[in-house]
Structures are given as structure tokens and as C-alpha cells.
Amino acid sequence: MKLLPDTLTGRTIAILLVGLGLFHAMSLWLYNAGFHTEIGYANERQLAERLVGMGQVIQAQPTSAREEIAHSLSGRTIEAHWGMASLVAVPSTDPAAISLKAHLTELTPELPAARLRIGVTHEGKAGATRHAIVVSLQLPDESWANFSIADLHNPTATWYGTLLATTAMAVGIVVVSVILVRTAAAPLRAVTQAARRLGSDVVGSPIDERGPREAREAAAAFNDMQRRITRLVESRMRTLAAVSHDLKTPLTRLRFRLEALDGHKTRESIAADLSEMEAMIDSTLAFLRSEAETEVVRMTDIVSLCATVCDDLFDQGYDVELARTEPAELPVRRLMLKRAIGNLVMNGVRYGKRARVAVENRPSQVAVIIDDEGPGIPPELMEDAFEPFKQLVGSRTERGGGVGLGLTVARAAARAHAGDVLLRNLPQGGLRAELLLSKLPLERIPQRLKIG
């Protein structure tokens, strides 16, 4: 179970709400306590004045009329009676009673404390216990005026109003802070997006260094990291490219020297070795180039592209057939795609004896499908097959001369066309490679290539 919300915004709001809640509970309590003390004090003073006044009125009456006047003086909160005895047997030690007694004594200094008795009664009334205070005032003629008073501290109606006001304020603060936190977190989200993009495209543009300082620093650190990665990748590429280029000069010389070895019996095998080396250099360079491709996008007939690849390989003696086609024209980088299809078809004949190629024109993409009749690839190794220089089959001879870049280059090419290369084993045996090309409009094809 997750106690904390997931996002920065969520967490900030949660923390803010808890703090606000505590703050409000505290201030409400303080406010109420103060309010009640103040009201209670005012009530007590008022009550004391009324009691003394009522006592004087009762006292001024002849004894026969005293009970009647007492009754007519009674109101909603104070009930007055006159009698010869006090209704308070034992003075109460209740703080309210003591406080009231102090007020009364203070207001009527002529009133001796001994002639004032205050008690608390508990009346059970309709399920709720009500406290009542009973005050007995001894009149100068030894008779008693008894007052029973309903609870001094009546709850006041302003309570709900206060709650409503503070809640409204809390909601307002939350709304404002949501907006603020989201604004502050926006640069952070930009960093996240850039980091995610970096995974697929090292040469992306740097992110804006804006927002609060922490976000600016994060963006700056990220841009710095991206620059270093780009430099690293570039220098690695340059090195590999330079080595591959430089190899071509001695290879050319070897071709000429070989020509001079006319009639020699090892000549053919040396020529074959040279061809293999050339193929390796070619595919390495293709792999490197796929990261800095400059070829322009042209509207191209995909079927004739596949036919060209298949016919070329067929003429070289491989078992390749373009089995079924649906007309398909797409804006593509032609040479890059030709190489990608060639790689997949060569994989088919290398590892799967023969390759059957099909072109399907689907609603949102064009699929070039290459089926072979080989052993397929164990499902857990499917993704590994795309790794550069990763070889699933043992020795170079067993693999038939591949370098380990075919699928890497093919996938990079497909992804440069907003597509992908997918592999799966066929139920009847053999591997199916699907090169998918998205039917994006010409201008939406990304101009910069991704690293696979």
C-alpha cells in the first residue's frame, strides 16, 4: 500500500494539507478556548449583576409577594424561587461555581461570602445530562433567594462559520500551491523527457536551463552529461571509421598483388578472404553511418527495392525468392533501407537455408516479411540478437561470415523510418523477421537517426 502520493505535486500537496490541517486544528482550538473564556467571563458578570439585582427586587417585596415576584422574574435561563431554606446544601467545588462566586463577591462587596452558596446539580433530561448551577443568596431577613441557572457556557453558533471560513482558505491555498508546484516542476519534467530521449537519440538538442535554481542546475548538469556522452560516442565513431577507411587502402593493394599471382592455386581462397574482409568493413561502416546518415528521403517503390535485393542475392547463388507483394510506395532513405532488407534476407539464407520475402501494405504501415527455414531463435535470446557484434551462433565459419551487425543496422534503419524490426519463430519452424515502415508523411520522417 502506498501512503505517499507518487508525484512531486501530489507529495507537496499532501505535506501542505497535513500542515494546514494541524495548523487549523490548533488555531481553531485556541480561538474556541479564548472565545469561550471571554464569553464565559461576560456571561458571569452579567449573571452576577442580574442575581444581585433580582435579590434586591425580591428583598424589597413583602414576604407574601416574594415567591410570586420571584416567579415572574424567572426567564429562559434563570429560574428564581424564594424560600426560607437554601437549595444548596453543600457548596460546590466545581471551577465554574468558584469562578461565579468570585465574580459575585467582586460585584457586590457588601455581600458577605457566607451568605452566598453555589452548588451544581446534574439533571438527567431526555437522555442528555445537563449541568445546572444553583445559587443561593441569603437575604438580610435570613430567607433565601434561590436561582437555578442553565449552563453558563452555551455553545455559540459562530463555530460552523469559522470552520467554513478556514476550509475555504485551505482549499484556496491548495489550488494556488498546485499551480505553483506544477509550474516549478515543469523544468524537472523537461529534464525527465530529455533523459528518456537520450536513451534513443544521443544527439538531441540541449534542454532549456530555466525554472527554479534546483531545476536549472539539474538541466545544466544534464546538458553537460549529454555533451560528454556525445563527445564520447563521436570519438569512438571517428576512430572506428578511420580504421575502417584506412583498411581499404591495403585491401586495394592486396587485390592488385593478388592479380599478379596469376594461376596460383591459393589465389581463389585469398580472394574469398579479401571479399569477406571487405564485407566486414562495409557492414561496420554501415553501422557507424547509420548514426550520422545524410541520405535524403525519396518517394520509393518498396516492391522494386525488395525485388532488387532478392534478385541480386539470387544471382549470387542464394536461395531467395520474392514470394508475394502488394504495391507499396513510401518516402524512405532508399540505400539505408536496401541495406536493412539485404541484411535480413542474408540472415535468412545464412542461418535459415533459404529466405522467402513478402511485402504487405497494411493500413498504417508497410511490412517487409522475411521467412527462413532455420532453427529460429530461442525466445529469451530474441532481444540479444539486435545487440551490435552479438553472435548467437558459435564460430564465424558456422555463421557464414556475418560480423554481427546485420540486425542492429536493420533495426536502426527501420526505426529511422518510425518503424521497427520484429522477430518471431514460426509455428511450422523457421524465423520470421518483419521490417515495419510507418506510413508517415514525408516531412514527419525524423531527419536525425537514432542509436539502436
Binding site: 581499404k248 586495394t252 593493394r253 592488385f256 598483388r257 541520405e295 518517394m299 532488387t308 544471382d315
Partner: protein, 247 residues
């Protein structure tokens, strides 16, 4: 205009070739190989030596490496082309399509990526020499485009473009065959003649019968009207039907 197949190189004085490459060993190997194969050849290591050689000897063709110290091969190619129509075969280690196109646009007549087969170089040299002697000199080599029946054939980029503007990919064999057709349109061409016209262009060791190439070309160039661009001629051979014009 057509030249009999029996025409031999030896009927005339051996063509004089200038080999420009900064790598001494490569240069010597190329020179020696060309000389062993009946051509005269001299080497030059950079732009300066090239101009010196051009001033003293009357060459028939230059084999020019793109990667040269100082003035690059591309610049040298442009400068030579500004002064003469001397055929140029470019060499490069880059093997980059854009390089090839730039080279051809600058006026090179052919292009070969290192590492290449010596026989292929020889075949290309001979083809270029023959083409230059054969046809009326090509005016303005830069971006040659031929048009027929709505189609366009870009000789610089080696591209066939359909009437609807779509690039139709061709194998090098198909391309060479199509070039042979558009250079000799609207006349019957025998299989032997076609083989002869395409042989020097095609990669060494490549052999696929003309019939197969023609049927592949036909499939790729199926027009909307269903009219075949290449007609089979009775008695063996083919004819390119549409008229060809420069674009």
C-alpha cells in the same frame, strides 16, 4: 555510330592514363597493372604533380583518388573539368553514395569505391574510353537526365523515376541494360548486341542472361496502360519502344 564488337584497343596507339593517388604503393600497383594490360600509365601523387603531368603529356583518361593531401580530389576534379573534357574515373575509400554523386556531378565519368577489383577498374576505364570515343561527346556531363514515356533516368544518380515520381530501384545489371536501351531506342537490338553494350559496365563476374534481365525490367516498369516499354523482336532480340529525349 555503332562500333563493331571486333574493334580492338590495339588498332590505335595505347591510351595514356594518369593515375593520381597519394599512396605510393597503390599508385605503383595500379600503374603496373594498367601497363600489363596494354595501357600506358603514369602516376602522380598530388594536385601539383597532376598539373605538371597534364602540361607535359596528352592523356586519354585520369584515375583520380578523392582523398588527396592538400587540394582534395573533388576540387581537383572540378578544376580539371573546367579546363578540359578529359575523362575522369574517381576512386574513393569512403564508399559513400553522396561522395559518388558529388563526384559525378562535378564531372567525373565514373566512380569506383575502394577496395575494388583491378579487373573492374580496367573494365571501367575501357568502358569510359569507348563511350567517349563512341558517342558524340556528351555536352554538360553535370546531371544528365533522360526522359521517355513519362519516366526519367538520372545517369548521375543512377536512378529510375516512375511517371508518378517514385524511385524504382534497379540492380546494376538492370540499370546497365536500361542505359543500353535508352542510348539505342526504337531499334531492334540482338541479345549479343545487348550483352556487348552492357558487358563493360557490369561488375566483373556477373552473368545473368539478357532474357532474365529484360523480364525483370519489364516487371518493374509495368506502365498503367499495360503497354510494354521493351518489346520482344521476332528472330531474337528486343526493342526499346518509347522515344528518348534529354530532360
Amino acid at each position: 555510330m555503332t562500333i563493331p564488337k571486333t574493334e580492338a584497343m590495339h588498332a590505335e596507339p595505347a591510351p595514356q592514363i594518369l593515375v593520381v593517388d597519394d599512396d605510393a604503393q597503390t599508385r605503383q600497383l595500379i600503374v603496373r597493372y594498367l601497363m600489363e594490360n596494354g595501357l600506358k600509365a603514369i602516376g602522380a601523387r598530388d594536385a601539383t604533380e597532376t598539373w605538371e603531368a597534364l602540361a607535359s603529356v596528352d592523356f586519354d583518361l585520369i584515375v583520380l583518388d578523392i582523398m588527396l593531401p592538400g587540394v582534395s580530389g573533388l576540387d581537383l576534379c572540378r578544376e580539371i573539368r573546367q579546363q578540359s573534357r578529359l575523362p575522369i574515373v574517381m576512386l574513393t575509400a569512403k564508399g559513400d553514395e553522396t561522395d559518388r554523386i558529388i563526384g559525378l556531378e562535378l564531372g567525373a565519368d565514373d566512380y569506383l569505391a575502394k577496395p575494388f577489383n583491378p579487373r573492374e577498374l580496367l573494365a571501367r576505364i575501357k568502358a569510359v574510353l569507348r563511350r567517349c570515343r563512341d558517342s558524340s561527346p556528351r555536352t554538360g556531363i553535370i546531371t544528365q537526365r533522360l526522359g521517355f514515356d513519362g519516366w526519367a533516368l538520372d545517369l548521375t544518380r543512377r536512378e529510375l523515376i516512375s511517371p508518378s515520381g517514385v524511385v524504382v530501384e534497379l540492380t546494376s545489371g538492370e540499370y546497365d541494360l536500361l542505359v543500353a536501351f535508352v542510348e539505342h531506342p526504337q531499334r531492334p537490338l540482338s541479345r549479343e548486341r545487348l550483352l556487348d553494350l552492357t558487358r563493360n559496365r557490369v561488375s566483373v563476374g556477373f552473368d545473368r542472361s539478357i532474357d532474365v534481365q529484360v523480364s525483370r525490367l519489364r516487371r518493374k516498369m509495368e506502365g498503367s496502360d499495360g503497354q510494354p516499354v521493351i518489346k520482344t523482336v521476332r528472330g531474337g532480340g528486343y526493342m526499346f519502344v518509347p522515344a528518348v529525349r534529354k530532360l
